[in-house]
């Protein structure tokens, strides 16, 4: 059959601010998050946790819990049929306590009961006696005792090089929490044949699946992990929390089991951003050329491995920032202690290092009596330069100089003459005397790797099907809120010229891994897979039918429609599946050298703060940024990532800190762990540099992490400028400003 008609002009393609398909249900309140799920005959699970940072369990009697009417099961490590430990890279954390508890909040037993109240009562009824052990909580002591997860010693260039001007500093960053608003939660449903389906909010369903199947001792196809609605992640959902527990309870009871962590449990139940201690020495020539950086970075990984080895590697590799330097000696140490386990959080090691290297660059500029941005521009690393630590040559784009120059040229805001108390550091508490408000401006620049590094086999799968009504994309990639779902739609629309694109998040049995939603990787990895699959599918279909164009109407040849989508009945022809990899990376040699990373992004931030110098209060007025994004795929979503990332960086700069006292978290709730609110939110002006990545759909780079990295030191620098105080630790406390 042959038709003559108008071709489709597709809307919502790459470069547009396409709408999120999940936006309407989310504003209506009927988007199903993992904590909203239920099933007929469902039980509720709960977790008994250690009140001690380090103790031996001398008695555990759960008979009183089982005696409570409505309690169906109490499980301990003895009830784990398969591998009794779990973990991503290293399986070292007991599924339930193995007789020793090694951190505050470590799970000891799990229960299932008819309702949540009964489950909580059962937890309280379990009798546990402990012999308390001395917790190891000082990472420096851990370092001395060689209680570490990983050490790196990077020596690059001539170690005898010395500069004419030297600055040294010691810096600390506190433990930050991702605090996704959606609590850890899930629903496990037994299939009646020894298998189980788990519906859960996670960043990486296939990695969860691997660990679940191992601990359950079931065949791979007997456990299926389904992505449920995810209420934010930021790294907190990369590790297993309640996944194995839920599946154990469901298989043990033969009934669906739901579990939802309370906020306090959530703080205990997921990893945090590593606290750091950093010693730095920068040496430069009088002309401002950075010639040597020495540093020791000590991060505290807590009790179990999680992703700590990769985090300390990142901190160490990025210890110098986006600058050339001919001589480097950087030691990275990841301590193993009895503090709460730390792991992935947005920025992944680069955040801590950036606070160190950027404060050092400001100190160096002061010592040289040069403009701090001029110093950075003079040493800016770009394509063809080598990373000062790993000696990897920068391939593709890295517009370090441009992001700094463009940020420098952005207009500064006028003095704030608004009368509303929200514009004063003391806010509506009306504590601030305007005579004591000082304004400061500070700058920082960051460098981050994109996607997984160090020879990890990083791949993602995607399947695309042309249907009579449009296109279906199937993936196991986690949409955590960042907007990957929209990016996938936009890429397919642009390639296939079809507007109606449905993205379906399928379970682990239906497709291979998409990898983790982390490391700023899904736009380049799943986006790249979708681009490859759509392109190959289009070419195959056109080749089969002898067409020269394809759109929502069908296949075209020389301006005439020759086959409609409805007539394309060959399902095999209309489906394409890809397994997509980024170019391989290398493992580091003994000096920490090698082509370890596949791509990089730089960002520059400028913060403007008003400081109440009498009370030590800070209002972050605005944070402006220029970010290297490769190509803007969705401007509105990109601004959303940047503003949200900056807010988390501002949070670390001025308020967010998990207070850990001898291993015990003292502020595991939203009353005492302060999150930035509307009253704390700075204005943000964001500009983008579009220099295409050598690897990324349409030249795009991942954009999620850079906003969180240099925003923190920029705010700290602004406070330093306003007060003249050293500001060597974040979050900055009133005491650090007032100097009592």
């Amino acid at each position: 059959m042959m038709y003559t008609t108008e071709k489709t002009t597709v809307a919502g393609g790459v470069g547009t601010s396409a709408d999120r398909p999940d936006g309407t249900p989310k504003v209506q309140g009927n988007f199903a998050y993992s904590s909203d799920l239920s099933a007929h005959g469902m039980l509720w699970g709960a977790t008994l946790r250690s009140p001690h940072a380090h103790a031996r369990i001398t008695r555990l009697d759960y008979a009183p819990a089982l005696a409570i009417p409505g309690v169906s099961a109490v499980l301990t490590l003895d009830d784990v049929p398969g591998v009794k430990t779990f973990g991503m890279a290293v399986s070292d954390q007991p599924v339930l306590a193995d007789g020793i508890v090694r951190f505050w909040g470590e799970p000891i037993a799990v229960v299932a009961a008819e309702n949540a109240d009964d489950a909580r009562r059962a937890i309280e009824a379990i009798v546990v006696e402990y012999e308390e052990l001395e917790p190891l909580v000082d990472p420096e002591v851990a370092d001395e005792r060689d209680s570490v997860f990983r050490r790196l010693e990077i020596r690059s260039g001539d170690q005898d090089v010395r500069g004419e001007v030297v600055v040294e500093g010691y810096y600390e960053t506190a433990t930050q929490d991702q605090a996704p608003l959606g609590p850890e939660s899930g629903l496990a449903i037994p299939d009646g044949e020894g298998g189980v389906d788990l519906y859960v909010a996670t960043q990486w369903s296939h990695e969860d699946h691997r660990q679940i199947a191992a601990s359950l001792g079931v065949k791979d196809d007997q456990a299926r992990v389904h992505l449920s609605g995810i209420g934010g992640a930021f790294g907190a959902r990369e590790d297993v929390s309640l996944q194995i527990h839920l599946c154990l309870l469901a298989l043990h009871t033969g009934r669906p089991v739901k579990m939802v962590y309370s906020r306090q449990e959530s703080f205990a139940g997921h990893v945090h951003r590593h606290p750091s201690r950093m010693w730095y020495r920068h040496e430069a020539n009088r002309d401002g050329t950075l010639v040597r950086v020495e540093a020791k970075l000590l991060l505290d990984g807590g009790a179990y491995t999680s992703s700590s080895p990769a985090v300390i590697a990142n901190a160490t590799y990025f210890a110098v920032g986006p600058y050339r330097c001919e001589s480097v000696a950087v030691d990275g140490v990841m301590a193993k202690t009895n503090n709460p386990p730390c792991g992935a959080m947005r920025g992944f090691g680069a955040v801590q290092a950036c606070f160190g290297h950027e404060t050092q660059m400001d100190r160096l500029a002061a010592a040289l009596d040069v403009d701090p941005l001029e110093l950075r521009i003079r040493n800016a690393m770009g394509p063809g330069d080598r990373m000062p630590t790993t000696l990897q040559e920068i391939e593709g784009s890295l517009p370090t100089k441009r992001v700094i120059e463009q940020m420098r040229d952005m207009p500064l805001p006028p003095p704030d003459d608004a009368t509303h108390p929200l514009h004063l550091p003391g806010g509506t508490g009306l504590t601030t005397d305007e005579a004591h408000v000082a304004r400061g401006v500070g700058y920082a620049v960051s460098l981050k790797n994109l996607m997984f590094s160090e020879a990890f086999d990083d791949f993602t799968e995607a399947r695309i099907t042309i249907t009579p009504v449009g296109v279906e994309v199937e993936t196991a990639a986690a949409e955590v809120g960042q907007g990957l779902i929209t990016i996938c739609q936009q890429i397919v629309r642009s390639v296939l010229k079809m507007e109606h694109v449905a993205v379906t998040f399928v379970d682990t049995s239906q497709i291979g891994s998409a990898g983790s939603t982390s490391a700023s990787r899904q736009t380049q990895m799943t986006g790249g897979a979708v681009l490859a699959a759509a392109t190959e599918l289009r070419d195959r279909v056109l080749n089969q039918y002898g067409g020269d164009d394809l759109d929502e109407r069908g296949i075209w040849r020389e301006g005439e429609l020759i086959v409609t989508l409805g007539e394309m009945t060959d399902r095999e022809l209309a489906t394409h599946h890809v397994q997509f990899r980024h170019p391989p990376t290398e493992a580091p040699d003994e000096h920490g050298h090698g082509n370890l990373h596949v791509d990089f992004a730089v960002a520059a931030h400028r913060a403007v703060v008003d400081v109440d110098t009498e009370l030590g209060l800070v209002r972050v007025v605005r944070v402006d940024t220029v970010q290297d994004v490769g190509k803007v795929l969705n401007p509105r979503a990109l601004v959303g990532q940047i503003e949200g990332g900056i807010m988390q960086g501002v949070g670390l700069a001025v308020m967010e800190e998990l207070v850990i006292d001898n291993g015990v978290i003292r502020n595991a709730n939203f009353t005492d762990y302060l999150l930035p609110t509307f009253a704390d939110a700075p204005e943000v002006m964001a500009e983008f540099i579009e220099e295409p990545s050598h690897f990324g759909p349409f030249g795009a780079k991942g954009a999620g992490e850079p906003p969180t990295i240099s925003s923190t030191p920029a705010v700290a620098a602004a406070i330093r400028a306003a007060t003249g105080r050293p500001i060597t630790r974040v979050p900055v406390r009133p005491d650090d400003i007032v100097g009592l």
Binding site: L181, G231, H423, G640, E643, F670, A679, V684
Partner: protein, 160 residues
Amino acid sequence: MRITITINGIDTEADIRGPESLLTLLRDELALPGSKNACEQGECGSCSVVLDGDVVCSCLVMAADAHGSTVRTVEGYGDHEVLHPVQEAMLDSGAVQCGFCTPGFVVAAAELFDTNPSPTSDEIREALAGNVCRCTGYGAILRGLEDLSANNAIAGDQTP
């Protein structure tokens, strides 16, 4: 104990066990999971509902105390055909990412605009300072509601 609440215009009877919150009642007993359970301590606003005309954190209200009250949850704004102007404004500006805080923002913002159709930026910030968003940094939420405020001001000027 049996209680009666008017929820989103519908008279609803419920049996309560005793100490549970209005949030638990809505989510677990009445199949209204739009109100979210993020902190259950009254700090984040994700569970915001309107109780007899006031925006409250439903996690801090005993279900028993809501007996005889009128409650409006996020499910009570807009319908299948037409969204509430606040919902439209938030979608247009990209104010929704993970969306977990969104129901609370919709409820709090809708009540603000109900009493003040053209709030200033500072009034928007202050009215929503009890709602935590972890994804957006608040910029897109502010822009959406500022646009709605501006449109309302124009519409108000044109009203004879």
